[in-house]
Symmetry: C2
């Protein structure tokens, strides 16, 4: 089983890297882009025999404590079979 | 409408950052983690009135040419209404 954790800045936090990409894309002629925000993404391979119900709490703890900074960032955990 | 682009190293490419996170998590006692790979993730806000069918080709081009390095990285584009 796999888990995916997506980490991105909270909407209220300025994202200069995303803004730079946005301006670069507009400069390249992609006028249909109204905004870009960059985030991180972790693909986590879980040990065989992991049960989603048991692992969900642990993954949430890992995302909150290790992968994301909850002061500035939001995270989202997703499970794949 | 929004698009999300996920960029990660191809499976054959070594990911030292992911390995470091993997070892750190194991060291913290999370023994159910069998592997970690890190990637990037872009949340792209599209101009109002964008039609998915028209924008899909442009987004694929942006992902391939600007956001990812297709020699080393895979990408995946996802649309949200």
């Amino acid at each position: 089983m796999k888990a995916r954790v997506y980490v991105s800045f909270k909407p209220t936090v300025l994202d200069p890297q995303g803004q730079t990409i946005h301006h670069a894309l507009n400069g390249l002629g992609h006028k249909s882009i109204a905004g870009v925000r960059q985030g991180k993404y972790f693909e986590i391979e879980l040990a065989p025999g992991s049960v989603k119900e048991q692992i969900a709490k642990e993954m949430d703890q890992i995302a909150r404590d290790v992968l994301a900074n909850p002061v500035m960032e939001d995270y989202r955990v997703e499970f794949l079979d």
